[in-house]
Symmetry: C2
Subunit: 324 residues, 2 copies
Protein backbone atom coordinates (compact mmCIF):
# COMPACT_ATOMS: atom_id res chain seq x y z
CA UNK A 1 0.00 0.00 0.00
CA UNK A 2 1.23 3.53 -0.57
CA UNK A 3 2.37 5.21 2.58
CA UNK A 4 0.12 8.04 3.64
CA UNK A 5 2.86 9.98 5.36
CA UNK A 6 4.32 12.40 2.90
CA UNK A 7 6.90 14.98 3.70
CA UNK A 8 6.24 18.55 2.79
CA UNK A 9 7.78 19.53 -0.48
CA UNK A 10 8.56 22.72 -2.24
CA UNK A 11 7.05 25.25 0.11
CA UNK A 12 3.70 26.44 -1.15
CA UNK A 13 2.99 23.14 -2.86
CA UNK A 14 2.95 21.06 0.28
CA UNK A 15 -0.78 21.19 1.00
CA UNK A 16 -1.67 17.54 0.67
CA UNK A 17 -5.37 16.94 0.57
CA UNK A 18 -6.01 14.23 3.12
CA UNK A 19 -9.21 12.99 1.56
CA UNK A 20 -7.46 12.56 -1.78
CA UNK A 21 -4.63 10.67 -0.18
CA UNK A 22 -7.09 8.33 1.49
CA UNK A 23 -8.82 7.76 -1.82
CA UNK A 24 -5.47 6.91 -3.41
CA UNK A 25 -4.71 4.46 -0.64
CA UNK A 26 -7.78 2.38 -1.46
CA UNK A 27 -6.57 1.67 -4.99
CA UNK A 28 -4.30 -1.18 -6.04
CA UNK A 29 -0.53 -0.88 -6.04
CA UNK A 30 1.15 -0.15 -9.36
CA UNK A 31 0.72 -3.10 -11.70
CA UNK A 32 4.30 -2.83 -12.92
CA UNK A 33 7.17 -3.32 -10.47
CA UNK A 34 10.11 -0.94 -10.28
CA UNK A 35 12.21 -1.99 -13.25
CA UNK A 36 15.79 -1.20 -12.35
CA UNK A 37 16.69 -1.70 -16.03
CA UNK A 38 18.26 1.08 -18.07
CA UNK A 39 17.64 1.44 -21.81
CA UNK A 40 20.28 -0.06 -24.07
CA UNK A 41 23.28 2.24 -24.44
CA UNK A 42 23.58 2.97 -28.11
CA UNK A 43 22.52 5.84 -30.36
CA UNK A 44 22.39 5.81 -34.15
CA UNK A 45 22.87 8.60 -36.65
CA UNK A 46 23.72 8.89 -40.31
CA UNK A 47 26.75 10.60 -41.84
CA UNK A 48 26.29 10.53 -45.61
CA UNK A 49 25.76 6.85 -46.38
CA UNK A 50 27.62 5.73 -43.25
CA UNK A 51 25.75 4.69 -40.12
CA UNK A 52 27.49 5.75 -36.90
CA UNK A 53 26.64 4.33 -33.49
CA UNK A 54 28.22 5.51 -30.25
CA UNK A 55 28.03 2.45 -27.99
CA UNK A 56 28.24 2.93 -24.23
CA UNK A 57 30.69 0.86 -22.21
CA UNK A 58 29.79 2.57 -18.93
CA UNK A 59 31.67 5.03 -16.81
CA UNK A 60 34.41 5.19 -14.25
CA UNK A 61 33.90 7.26 -11.10
CA UNK A 62 37.53 8.27 -11.04
CA UNK A 63 38.67 9.56 -7.65
CA UNK A 64 40.41 12.91 -8.06
CA UNK A 65 42.36 15.22 -5.79
CA UNK A 66 44.61 18.25 -5.98
CA UNK A 67 46.98 16.42 -8.35
CA UNK A 68 44.31 15.79 -10.99
CA UNK A 69 44.88 19.05 -12.86
CA UNK A 70 48.54 20.01 -12.79
CA UNK A 71 48.34 23.73 -13.44
CA UNK A 72 45.32 25.13 -11.59
CA UNK A 73 44.31 25.23 -7.92
CA UNK A 74 42.04 22.33 -6.98
CA UNK A 75 39.35 24.78 -5.84
CA UNK A 76 38.87 25.80 -9.49
CA UNK A 77 38.38 22.17 -10.51
CA UNK A 78 35.84 21.65 -7.73
CA UNK A 79 33.97 24.78 -8.78
CA UNK A 80 33.80 23.56 -12.39
CA UNK A 81 32.47 20.20 -11.20
CA UNK A 82 29.86 21.89 -9.00
CA UNK A 83 28.81 24.23 -11.83
CA UNK A 84 28.14 21.13 -13.95
CA UNK A 85 26.19 19.38 -11.16
CA UNK A 86 28.90 16.71 -10.97
CA UNK A 87 30.04 15.08 -7.75
CA UNK A 88 33.05 16.52 -5.91
CA UNK A 89 36.25 14.49 -5.60
CA UNK A 90 35.34 12.09 -8.39
CA UNK A 91 35.03 12.53 -12.13
CA UNK A 92 32.29 10.42 -13.70
CA UNK A 93 34.16 9.58 -16.89
CA UNK A 94 32.13 7.77 -19.59
CA UNK A 95 33.70 5.39 -22.11
CA UNK A 96 31.95 5.46 -25.48
CA UNK A 97 33.46 3.53 -28.40
CA UNK A 98 32.15 4.52 -31.83
CA UNK A 99 30.86 1.91 -34.29
CA UNK A 100 31.07 2.95 -37.94
CA UNK A 101 29.31 0.93 -40.60
CA UNK A 102 30.62 2.21 -43.91
CA UNK A 103 28.59 -0.35 -45.85
CA UNK A 104 31.89 -1.93 -46.81
CA UNK A 105 33.41 -2.26 -43.35
CA UNK A 106 32.15 -2.56 -39.81
CA UNK A 107 34.65 -0.54 -37.81
CA UNK A 108 34.88 -0.10 -34.04
CA UNK A 109 36.84 2.88 -32.76
CA UNK A 110 38.25 1.96 -29.33
CA UNK A 111 37.06 -0.92 -27.19
CA UNK A 112 36.14 0.26 -23.69
CA UNK A 113 37.19 -1.33 -20.44
CA UNK A 114 36.48 -5.00 -21.02
CA UNK A 115 34.93 -4.96 -17.56
CA UNK A 116 38.40 -4.65 -16.07
CA UNK A 117 38.43 -1.04 -14.87
CA UNK A 118 35.28 -0.25 -12.90
CA UNK A 119 32.12 -2.09 -11.81
CA UNK A 120 30.09 0.59 -13.61
CA UNK A 121 31.74 -0.14 -16.97
CA UNK A 122 32.07 -3.16 -19.24
CA UNK A 123 28.76 -3.08 -21.11
CA UNK A 124 30.15 -2.56 -24.61
CA UNK A 125 29.53 -6.07 -25.92
CA UNK A 126 26.02 -6.22 -24.42
CA UNK A 127 25.17 -2.83 -25.90
CA UNK A 128 26.61 -3.86 -29.28
CA UNK A 129 24.32 -6.89 -29.16
CA UNK A 130 21.37 -4.66 -28.27
CA UNK A 131 22.26 -2.67 -31.38
CA UNK A 132 22.16 -5.87 -33.44
CA UNK A 133 25.91 -6.33 -33.76
CA UNK A 134 27.79 -9.40 -32.57
CA UNK A 135 31.43 -8.79 -31.70
CA UNK A 136 32.41 -11.44 -34.28
CA UNK A 137 31.02 -9.22 -37.05
CA UNK A 138 33.45 -6.38 -36.43
CA UNK A 139 35.88 -6.21 -39.39
CA UNK A 140 38.23 -3.58 -38.04
CA UNK A 141 39.11 -2.21 -34.62
CA UNK A 142 40.86 1.16 -34.59
CA UNK A 143 42.69 2.22 -31.43
CA UNK A 144 43.11 5.92 -30.67
CA UNK A 145 45.59 5.44 -27.84
CA UNK A 146 46.97 2.69 -25.59
CA UNK A 147 45.53 3.75 -22.24
CA UNK A 148 43.64 0.88 -20.58
CA UNK A 149 40.14 2.29 -21.12
CA UNK A 150 40.70 2.13 -24.89
CA UNK A 151 42.43 -1.24 -25.27
CA UNK A 152 41.31 -3.43 -22.37
CA UNK A 153 38.10 -4.26 -24.21
CA UNK A 154 40.12 -6.18 -26.80
CA UNK A 155 40.10 -9.07 -24.31
CA UNK A 156 37.68 -10.50 -21.79
CA UNK A 157 38.67 -10.74 -18.14
CA UNK A 158 39.76 -14.30 -18.96
CA UNK A 159 42.01 -13.17 -21.76
CA UNK A 160 39.94 -14.27 -24.78
CA UNK A 161 39.94 -12.01 -27.83
CA UNK A 162 36.60 -10.17 -28.00
CA UNK A 163 36.80 -9.27 -31.71
CA UNK A 164 38.34 -12.44 -33.19
CA UNK A 165 37.71 -11.52 -36.82
CA UNK A 166 38.93 -7.95 -36.67
CA UNK A 167 42.10 -6.44 -37.97
CA UNK A 168 43.42 -4.10 -35.27
CA UNK A 169 44.72 -0.79 -36.55
CA UNK A 170 47.11 1.11 -34.29
CA UNK A 171 49.20 4.24 -34.66
CA UNK A 172 52.78 3.26 -35.44
CA UNK A 173 54.02 6.03 -33.13
CA UNK A 174 51.87 4.69 -30.28
CA UNK A 175 52.93 1.10 -30.85
CA UNK A 176 56.61 2.00 -31.00
CA UNK A 177 56.43 4.12 -27.86
CA UNK A 178 54.69 1.60 -25.61
CA UNK A 179 56.53 -1.47 -26.92
CA UNK A 180 59.96 0.10 -26.37
CA UNK A 181 61.60 -1.50 -23.32
CA UNK A 182 63.78 1.56 -22.79
CA UNK A 183 60.62 3.66 -22.39
CA UNK A 184 59.19 1.11 -19.96
CA UNK A 185 62.35 1.08 -17.91
CA UNK A 186 62.59 4.87 -17.67
CA UNK A 187 58.86 5.57 -17.26
CA UNK A 188 57.53 7.27 -14.12
CA UNK A 189 55.93 4.80 -11.68
CA UNK A 190 52.49 6.14 -12.64
CA UNK A 191 52.87 4.91 -16.20
CA UNK A 192 54.72 1.60 -15.75
CA UNK A 193 51.46 -0.38 -15.30
CA UNK A 194 50.25 1.07 -18.61
CA UNK A 195 53.32 -0.32 -20.38
CA UNK A 196 52.78 -3.73 -18.84
CA UNK A 197 49.07 -3.62 -19.69
CA UNK A 198 49.86 -2.90 -23.34
CA UNK A 199 52.08 -5.98 -23.44
CA UNK A 200 49.37 -8.09 -21.77
CA UNK A 201 46.61 -6.97 -24.14
CA UNK A 202 48.56 -7.31 -27.39
CA UNK A 203 50.42 -10.54 -26.60
CA UNK A 204 49.96 -13.10 -29.38
CA UNK A 205 47.68 -10.79 -31.36
CA UNK A 206 48.53 -11.49 -34.99
CA UNK A 207 46.17 -9.07 -36.69
CA UNK A 208 47.71 -5.76 -35.65
CA UNK A 209 48.41 -3.38 -38.53
CA UNK A 210 50.17 -0.08 -37.82
CA UNK A 211 49.11 3.13 -39.58
CA UNK A 212 50.68 6.53 -40.07
CA UNK A 213 48.84 9.70 -39.06
CA UNK A 214 47.44 11.35 -42.20
CA UNK A 215 46.65 7.98 -43.80
CA UNK A 216 43.14 6.95 -44.83
CA UNK A 217 43.16 3.78 -42.73
CA UNK A 218 39.75 2.52 -43.83
CA UNK A 219 37.96 4.01 -46.84
CA UNK A 220 36.35 7.14 -45.38
CA UNK A 221 38.32 7.17 -42.12
CA UNK A 222 41.55 9.15 -41.87
CA UNK A 223 43.89 9.32 -38.89
CA UNK A 224 44.82 12.77 -37.53
CA UNK A 225 47.90 13.12 -35.35
CA UNK A 226 46.76 14.45 -31.97
CA UNK A 227 49.74 13.96 -29.65
CA UNK A 228 49.95 14.98 -26.01
CA UNK A 229 47.40 12.74 -24.35
CA UNK A 230 49.78 10.00 -25.39
CA UNK A 231 52.69 10.24 -27.83
CA UNK A 232 50.79 8.56 -30.66
CA UNK A 233 47.22 9.59 -29.80
CA UNK A 234 45.10 10.11 -32.92
CA UNK A 235 41.75 11.68 -33.69
CA UNK A 236 39.92 10.52 -36.81
CA UNK A 237 38.16 12.28 -39.67
CA UNK A 238 35.19 10.29 -40.93
CA UNK A 239 33.71 11.30 -44.28
CA UNK A 240 30.91 10.02 -46.48
CA UNK A 241 29.31 11.83 -49.36
CA UNK A 242 29.35 15.53 -48.62
CA UNK A 243 29.46 15.11 -44.84
CA UNK A 244 32.30 14.71 -42.41
CA UNK A 245 32.83 14.43 -38.66
CA UNK A 246 35.78 14.41 -36.34
CA UNK A 247 36.06 11.69 -33.71
CA UNK A 248 38.02 13.67 -31.12
CA UNK A 249 38.78 10.58 -29.00
CA UNK A 250 40.87 11.85 -26.04
CA UNK A 251 41.75 15.23 -27.51
CA UNK A 252 39.49 16.56 -24.74
CA UNK A 253 38.44 14.56 -21.72
CA UNK A 254 35.15 15.57 -20.08
CA UNK A 255 34.08 18.70 -21.96
CA UNK A 256 32.53 20.34 -18.90
CA UNK A 257 36.04 20.52 -17.49
CA UNK A 258 38.50 20.53 -20.36
CA UNK A 259 36.63 22.06 -23.31
CA UNK A 260 35.50 24.88 -21.03
CA UNK A 261 39.07 25.16 -19.72
CA UNK A 262 41.30 24.10 -22.61
CA UNK A 263 44.47 25.24 -20.86
CA UNK A 264 43.98 22.88 -17.93
CA UNK A 265 46.46 20.02 -17.91
CA UNK A 266 44.96 16.88 -16.37
CA UNK A 267 47.37 14.15 -15.35
CA UNK A 268 45.50 12.00 -17.86
CA UNK A 269 47.50 13.81 -20.56
CA UNK A 270 51.06 12.50 -20.53
CA UNK A 271 52.51 15.68 -22.09
CA UNK A 272 50.25 18.40 -20.71
CA UNK A 273 51.55 21.32 -22.76
CA UNK A 274 51.49 19.39 -26.03
CA UNK A 275 47.98 18.13 -25.26
CA UNK A 276 46.81 21.72 -24.71
CA UNK A 277 48.26 22.78 -28.07
CA UNK A 278 46.65 19.81 -29.84
CA UNK A 279 43.32 20.41 -28.09
CA UNK A 280 43.17 24.06 -29.17
CA UNK A 281 44.26 23.25 -32.72
CA UNK A 282 41.56 20.60 -33.25
CA UNK A 283 38.79 22.38 -31.35
CA UNK A 284 39.49 25.59 -33.28
CA UNK A 285 39.20 23.61 -36.49
CA UNK A 286 35.90 21.85 -35.72
CA UNK A 287 34.42 25.07 -34.33
CA UNK A 288 35.43 27.10 -37.39
CA UNK A 289 34.20 24.45 -39.82
CA UNK A 290 31.06 23.66 -37.75
CA UNK A 291 32.05 20.00 -38.03
CA UNK A 292 30.11 17.55 -35.90
CA UNK A 293 32.24 15.68 -33.37
CA UNK A 294 32.20 12.69 -31.08
CA UNK A 295 34.20 12.46 -27.87
CA UNK A 296 35.16 9.25 -26.08
CA UNK A 297 34.72 10.76 -22.61
CA UNK A 298 31.85 13.10 -23.47
CA UNK A 299 28.43 12.51 -21.86
CA UNK A 300 26.76 9.67 -23.79
CA UNK A 301 26.06 9.59 -26.67
CA UNK A 302 28.81 12.19 -27.00
CA UNK A 303 27.75 13.48 -30.41
CA UNK A 304 27.35 17.16 -31.19
CA UNK A 305 29.27 20.30 -32.07
CA UNK A 306 31.93 22.50 -30.51
CA UNK A 307 31.54 26.27 -30.26
CA UNK A 308 34.22 28.72 -29.25
CA UNK A 309 33.36 30.93 -26.29
CA UNK A 310 35.12 33.91 -24.76
CA UNK A 311 37.12 31.70 -22.44
CA UNK A 312 37.26 28.27 -24.08
CA UNK A 313 34.93 25.93 -25.89
CA UNK A 314 31.51 24.48 -25.24
CA UNK A 315 30.17 21.11 -26.37
CA UNK A 316 26.66 21.43 -27.82
CA UNK A 317 25.11 17.95 -27.77
CA UNK A 318 23.06 16.98 -30.81
CA UNK A 319 19.37 16.50 -30.11
CA UNK A 320 18.33 12.86 -29.76
CA UNK A 321 16.14 11.91 -32.69
CA UNK A 322 14.26 8.81 -33.71
CA UNK A 323 14.46 9.46 -37.43
CA UNK A 324 17.77 8.43 -38.99
Amino acid sequence: MPRLTRRALLGSCSLAVAAQALQQATRADAAVPISGQQAAGFYRFKLGSFELTPVYDGFWDRPIDARFVRNVPYAEVKKALADAFMAPDTLAMPFTPLLVNTGGKLVLLDTGSGGQLAPTAGTLVANLAAAGVEAQAVDTVVISNFHPDHIDGLRTKDGALVFPNAEILVSRVEWTYWMDDANLNTAPALYKPYFLNVRRVFRDVKSVRPFEPGAEIVPGITAIAAPGHTPGHCAFAIASGHRSLMALCDTTNHPWLFARHPDWQPILDMDGALAVATRKRLLDRVAADKLPVTGYHFPFPGYGHIIKTGTGYEFVPAMWQTAL
Copy 2:
Protein backbone atom coordinates in the same frame (compact mmCIF):
# COMPACT_ATOMS: atom_id res chain seq x y z
CA MET B 1 32.51 -3.74 -52.84
CA PRO B 2 33.66 -0.50 -51.22
CA ARG B 3 34.03 2.31 -53.68
CA LEU B 4 37.64 3.31 -54.26
CA THR B 5 36.83 6.90 -55.10
CA ARG B 6 37.02 8.97 -51.95
CA ARG B 7 36.65 12.70 -51.79
CA ALA B 8 39.28 14.73 -50.07
CA LEU B 9 38.42 15.52 -46.51
CA LEU B 10 39.57 17.97 -43.92
CA GLY B 11 42.47 19.63 -45.68
CA SER B 12 45.72 18.17 -44.44
CA CYS B 13 44.11 14.81 -43.70
CA SER B 14 43.14 14.08 -47.27
CA LEU B 15 46.18 12.03 -48.27
CA ALA B 16 44.60 8.69 -49.02
CA VAL B 17 47.10 5.95 -49.47
CA ALA B 18 46.13 4.22 -52.69
CA ALA B 19 47.78 0.93 -51.83
CA GLN B 20 45.87 0.76 -48.57
CA ALA B 21 42.58 1.48 -50.30
CA LEU B 22 43.25 -1.35 -52.76
CA GLN B 23 44.01 -3.69 -49.87
CA GLN B 24 40.71 -2.74 -48.23
CA ALA B 25 38.84 -3.38 -51.46
CA THR B 26 39.93 -6.98 -51.51
CA ARG B 27 38.23 -7.70 -48.18
CA ALA B 28 34.60 -8.68 -47.75
CA ASP B 29 31.85 -6.10 -47.34
CA ALA B 30 30.68 -5.39 -43.78
CA ALA B 31 28.97 -8.45 -42.37
CA VAL B 32 26.23 -6.36 -40.78
CA PRO B 33 23.93 -4.30 -43.01
CA ILE B 34 23.13 -0.66 -42.29
CA SER B 35 20.54 -0.93 -39.52
CA GLY B 36 18.34 2.13 -39.84
CA GLN B 37 16.97 1.35 -36.35
CA GLN B 38 17.28 3.80 -33.52
CA ALA B 39 17.61 2.68 -29.90
CA ALA B 40 14.40 2.61 -27.87
CA GLY B 41 13.47 6.06 -26.62
CA PHE B 42 13.35 5.82 -22.86
CA TYR B 43 15.74 6.67 -20.04
CA ARG B 44 15.47 5.57 -16.44
CA PHE B 45 16.58 7.26 -13.25
CA LYS B 46 15.77 7.03 -9.57
CA LEU B 47 14.33 9.75 -7.35
CA GLY B 48 14.29 8.39 -3.82
CA SER B 49 12.35 5.15 -4.10
CA PHE B 50 10.50 6.31 -7.22
CA GLU B 51 11.59 5.23 -10.68
CA LEU B 52 11.21 7.94 -13.31
CA THR B 53 11.30 7.27 -17.05
CA PRO B 54 11.10 9.99 -19.68
CA VAL B 55 9.57 8.21 -22.69
CA TYR B 56 10.04 9.70 -26.14
CA ASP B 57 7.03 10.22 -28.39
CA GLY B 58 9.09 11.78 -31.18
CA PHE B 59 9.37 15.34 -32.38
CA TRP B 60 7.56 17.84 -34.54
CA ASP B 61 9.55 19.89 -37.06
CA ARG B 62 7.34 22.90 -36.49
CA PRO B 63 7.57 25.46 -39.30
CA ILE B 64 8.25 28.90 -37.85
CA ASP B 65 8.37 32.42 -39.23
CA ALA B 66 8.48 36.01 -38.02
CA ARG B 67 5.28 35.51 -36.01
CA PHE B 68 6.74 32.67 -33.91
CA VAL B 69 8.14 34.93 -31.18
CA ARG B 70 5.90 37.92 -30.65
CA ASN B 71 8.28 40.36 -29.08
CA VAL B 72 11.68 40.01 -30.75
CA PRO B 73 12.86 40.45 -34.35
CA TYR B 74 12.92 37.16 -36.24
CA ALA B 75 16.62 37.60 -36.95
CA GLU B 76 17.31 37.08 -33.23
CA VAL B 77 15.37 33.83 -33.24
CA LYS B 78 17.25 32.61 -36.30
CA LYS B 79 20.54 33.49 -34.64
CA ALA B 80 19.60 31.51 -31.51
CA LEU B 81 18.67 28.52 -33.69
CA ALA B 82 21.95 28.75 -35.59
CA ASP B 83 23.96 29.08 -32.36
CA ALA B 84 22.37 25.81 -31.21
CA PHE B 85 23.06 24.05 -34.53
CA MET B 86 19.33 23.79 -35.17
CA ALA B 87 17.72 24.15 -38.59
CA PRO B 88 16.44 27.57 -39.68
CA ASP B 89 12.72 28.16 -40.21
CA THR B 90 11.66 25.07 -38.23
CA LEU B 91 11.83 24.21 -34.57
CA ALA B 92 12.51 20.52 -33.87
CA MET B 93 10.23 20.23 -30.85
CA PRO B 94 10.45 16.91 -28.94
CA PHE B 95 7.51 15.46 -27.00
CA THR B 96 8.60 13.53 -23.91
CA PRO B 97 5.96 12.28 -21.48
CA LEU B 98 7.28 11.27 -18.06
CA LEU B 99 6.44 7.89 -16.52
CA VAL B 100 6.58 7.82 -12.72
CA ASN B 101 6.46 4.51 -10.87
CA THR B 102 5.91 5.39 -7.23
CA GLY B 103 5.74 1.74 -6.25
CA GLY B 104 2.10 2.35 -5.44
CA LYS B 105 1.02 3.96 -8.68
CA LEU B 106 2.16 3.91 -12.28
CA VAL B 107 1.63 7.48 -13.41
CA LEU B 108 2.07 8.94 -16.90
CA LEU B 109 2.51 12.71 -17.14
CA ASP B 110 1.17 13.83 -20.54
CA THR B 111 0.51 11.54 -23.47
CA GLY B 112 2.27 12.75 -26.61
CA SER B 113 0.78 13.10 -30.04
CA GLY B 114 -1.02 9.78 -30.52
CA GLY B 115 0.55 9.77 -34.00
CA GLN B 116 -1.82 12.55 -35.00
CA LEU B 117 0.51 15.55 -35.19
CA ALA B 118 3.63 14.72 -37.17
CA PRO B 119 5.05 11.71 -39.01
CA THR B 120 8.14 11.94 -36.77
CA ALA B 121 6.07 11.51 -33.58
CA GLY B 122 3.73 8.90 -32.18
CA THR B 123 6.19 6.41 -30.69
CA LEU B 124 5.12 6.73 -27.05
CA VAL B 125 3.30 3.40 -26.79
CA ALA B 126 6.08 1.54 -28.61
CA ASN B 127 8.71 3.10 -26.37
CA LEU B 128 6.65 2.33 -23.26
CA ALA B 129 6.55 -1.29 -24.41
CA ALA B 130 10.31 -1.23 -24.96
CA ALA B 131 10.57 -0.03 -21.35
CA GLY B 132 8.48 -3.03 -20.23
CA VAL B 133 5.24 -1.13 -19.70
CA GLU B 134 1.98 -1.90 -21.47
CA ALA B 135 -0.43 1.02 -21.78
CA GLN B 136 -3.06 -1.01 -19.92
CA ALA B 137 -0.85 -0.99 -16.81
CA VAL B 138 -0.92 2.79 -16.40
CA ASP B 139 -2.99 3.65 -13.29
CA THR B 140 -3.06 7.39 -13.65
CA VAL B 141 -2.59 9.86 -16.48
CA VAL B 142 -1.84 13.45 -15.46
CA ILE B 143 -2.33 16.21 -18.04
CA SER B 144 -0.28 19.40 -17.73
CA ASN B 145 -2.27 21.35 -20.33
CA PHE B 146 -4.83 20.75 -23.09
CA HIS B 147 -2.74 21.56 -26.16
CA PRO B 148 -2.89 18.70 -28.70
CA ASP B 149 0.66 17.43 -28.14
CA HIS B 150 -0.23 16.66 -24.51
CA ILE B 151 -3.70 15.12 -24.88
CA ASP B 152 -3.91 13.59 -28.36
CA GLY B 153 -2.11 10.50 -27.12
CA LEU B 154 -5.11 9.64 -24.94
CA ARG B 155 -6.63 8.15 -28.10
CA THR B 156 -5.42 6.26 -31.13
CA LYS B 157 -6.00 7.67 -34.60
CA ASP B 158 -9.14 5.52 -34.66
CA GLY B 159 -10.44 7.00 -31.44
CA ALA B 160 -9.80 4.10 -29.04
CA LEU B 161 -8.66 4.96 -25.54
CA VAL B 162 -4.95 4.20 -25.18
CA PHE B 163 -4.89 3.98 -21.37
CA PRO B 164 -8.20 2.21 -20.65
CA ASN B 165 -7.46 1.53 -16.98
CA ALA B 166 -6.19 4.97 -16.07
CA GLU B 167 -7.84 7.70 -14.11
CA ILE B 168 -7.17 10.96 -15.95
CA LEU B 169 -6.25 13.88 -13.72
CA VAL B 170 -6.72 17.38 -15.15
CA SER B 171 -6.45 20.88 -13.75
CA ARG B 172 -9.92 22.16 -12.92
CA VAL B 173 -8.93 25.59 -14.28
CA GLU B 174 -7.82 24.03 -17.57
CA TRP B 175 -10.93 21.88 -17.87
CA THR B 176 -13.28 24.78 -17.14
CA TYR B 177 -11.53 27.08 -19.60
CA TRP B 178 -11.51 24.75 -22.58
CA MET B 179 -14.98 23.27 -22.00
CA ASP B 180 -16.64 26.70 -21.77
CA ASP B 181 -18.60 27.34 -24.96
CA ALA B 182 -18.37 31.09 -24.43
CA ASN B 183 -14.56 30.80 -24.57
CA LEU B 184 -14.81 28.66 -27.70
CA ASN B 185 -17.09 31.15 -29.39
CA THR B 186 -14.92 34.16 -28.59
CA ALA B 187 -11.54 32.48 -29.16
CA PRO B 188 -9.17 33.73 -31.87
CA ALA B 189 -9.23 31.59 -35.02
CA LEU B 190 -5.81 30.19 -34.07
CA TYR B 191 -7.19 28.55 -30.94
CA LYS B 192 -10.66 27.38 -32.07
CA PRO B 193 -9.29 24.02 -33.33
CA TYR B 194 -7.73 23.46 -29.91
CA PHE B 195 -11.16 23.85 -28.25
CA LEU B 196 -12.72 21.40 -30.70
CA ASN B 197 -9.83 18.98 -30.22
CA VAL B 198 -10.33 19.02 -26.43
CA ARG B 199 -13.99 18.09 -26.94
CA ARG B 200 -13.02 15.31 -29.36
CA VAL B 201 -10.40 13.80 -27.08
CA PHE B 202 -12.43 13.89 -23.86
CA ARG B 203 -15.82 12.87 -25.29
CA ASP B 204 -17.30 9.94 -23.34
CA VAL B 205 -14.26 9.70 -21.06
CA LYS B 206 -15.71 8.75 -17.68
CA SER B 207 -12.51 8.62 -15.65
CA VAL B 208 -11.58 12.31 -15.62
CA ARG B 209 -10.91 13.74 -12.17
CA PRO B 210 -10.17 17.44 -11.77
CA PHE B 211 -7.52 18.68 -9.34
CA GLU B 212 -6.67 22.04 -7.83
CA PRO B 213 -3.15 23.50 -8.12
CA GLY B 214 -1.39 23.00 -4.83
CA ALA B 215 -2.96 19.61 -4.25
CA GLU B 216 -0.96 16.41 -3.89
CA ILE B 217 -2.76 14.63 -6.74
CA VAL B 218 -0.98 11.29 -6.34
CA PRO B 219 1.06 10.47 -3.23
CA GLY B 220 4.38 12.20 -3.96
CA ILE B 221 3.16 14.30 -6.90
CA THR B 222 1.91 17.83 -6.28
CA ALA B 223 0.47 20.20 -8.88
CA ILE B 224 1.99 23.68 -9.18
CA ALA B 225 0.01 26.44 -10.88
CA ALA B 226 2.04 27.61 -13.87
CA PRO B 227 -0.37 29.71 -15.94
CA GLY B 228 0.46 31.56 -19.14
CA HIS B 229 1.22 28.77 -21.57
CA THR B 230 -2.47 27.95 -21.07
CA PRO B 231 -4.81 29.28 -18.38
CA GLY B 232 -4.61 26.11 -16.29
CA HIS B 233 -1.13 24.89 -17.18
CA CYS B 234 0.57 23.12 -14.27
CA ALA B 235 4.07 22.00 -13.45
CA PHE B 236 4.48 19.18 -10.93
CA ALA B 237 6.68 18.63 -7.90
CA ILE B 238 7.65 14.98 -7.50
CA ALA B 239 9.13 13.92 -4.17
CA SER B 240 10.32 10.65 -2.67
CA GLY B 241 12.41 10.23 0.43
CA HIS B 242 14.74 13.19 0.69
CA ARG B 243 14.74 13.95 -3.02
CA SER B 244 12.50 16.06 -5.19
CA LEU B 245 12.28 17.18 -8.80
CA MET B 246 10.18 19.62 -10.75
CA ALA B 247 8.51 18.49 -13.97
CA LEU B 248 8.45 21.86 -15.75
CA CYS B 249 6.13 20.60 -18.52
CA ASP B 250 5.58 23.63 -20.84
CA THR B 251 6.85 26.28 -18.45
CA THR B 252 9.69 26.60 -20.96
CA ASN B 253 9.53 25.28 -24.50
CA HIS B 254 12.88 24.43 -26.12
CA PRO B 255 15.48 25.57 -23.58
CA TRP B 256 17.99 26.64 -26.23
CA LEU B 257 15.49 29.33 -27.22
CA PHE B 258 13.32 30.10 -24.22
CA ALA B 259 15.45 29.28 -21.16
CA ARG B 260 18.30 31.25 -22.72
CA HIS B 261 15.82 34.03 -23.55
CA PRO B 262 13.16 33.85 -20.85
CA ASP B 263 11.55 37.14 -21.92
CA TRP B 264 10.75 35.87 -25.39
CA GLN B 265 7.04 35.28 -25.93
CA PRO B 266 6.39 32.43 -28.39
CA ILE B 267 2.91 32.20 -29.85
CA LEU B 268 2.82 28.78 -28.20
CA ASP B 269 2.12 30.64 -24.93
CA MET B 270 -1.47 31.89 -24.94
CA ASP B 271 -0.73 34.71 -22.48
CA GLY B 272 2.82 35.68 -23.31
CA ALA B 273 3.44 38.11 -20.44
CA LEU B 274 1.98 35.77 -17.82
CA ALA B 275 4.00 32.88 -19.23
CA VAL B 276 7.19 34.94 -18.90
CA ALA B 277 6.41 35.74 -15.28
CA THR B 278 5.65 32.07 -14.51
CA ARG B 279 8.78 30.93 -16.35
CA LYS B 280 11.06 33.23 -14.39
CA ARG B 281 9.37 32.37 -11.08
CA LEU B 282 9.78 28.60 -11.53
CA LEU B 283 13.22 28.71 -13.16
CA ASP B 284 14.49 31.00 -10.39
CA ARG B 285 13.18 28.49 -7.88
CA VAL B 286 14.73 25.37 -9.38
CA ALA B 287 18.02 27.21 -10.01
CA ALA B 288 18.19 28.52 -6.43
CA ASP B 289 17.28 25.14 -4.92
CA LYS B 290 19.42 23.18 -7.42
CA LEU B 291 16.38 20.99 -8.01
CA PRO B 292 16.57 18.54 -10.90
CA VAL B 293 13.99 19.16 -13.61
CA THR B 294 12.38 17.54 -16.61
CA GLY B 295 10.96 19.46 -19.57
CA TYR B 296 8.41 18.16 -22.03
CA HIS B 297 10.01 19.94 -25.01
CA PHE B 298 13.61 19.66 -23.83
CA PRO B 299 16.07 17.54 -25.85
CA PHE B 300 15.43 13.89 -24.93
CA PRO B 301 15.65 12.63 -22.25
CA GLY B 302 15.07 16.17 -20.99
CA TYR B 303 16.38 15.55 -17.47
CA GLY B 304 18.91 17.80 -15.77
CA HIS B 305 19.28 21.09 -13.93
CA ILE B 306 18.72 24.78 -14.59
CA ILE B 307 21.38 27.38 -13.88
CA LYS B 308 20.90 31.13 -13.94
CA THR B 309 23.23 33.02 -16.26
CA GLY B 310 23.86 36.71 -16.78
CA THR B 311 21.13 36.93 -19.40
CA GLY B 312 18.73 34.06 -18.71
CA TYR B 313 18.94 30.40 -17.82
CA GLU B 314 20.77 27.38 -19.15
CA PHE B 315 19.63 23.76 -19.10
CA VAL B 316 22.41 21.43 -17.94
CA PRO B 317 21.46 17.92 -19.06
CA ALA B 318 22.17 15.12 -16.61
CA MET B 319 24.82 12.66 -17.73
CA TRP B 320 23.41 9.43 -19.15
CA GLN B 321 24.24 6.59 -16.80
CA THR B 322 23.70 2.86 -16.83
CA ALA B 323 23.59 2.48 -13.07
CA LEU B 324 20.21 3.31 -11.53
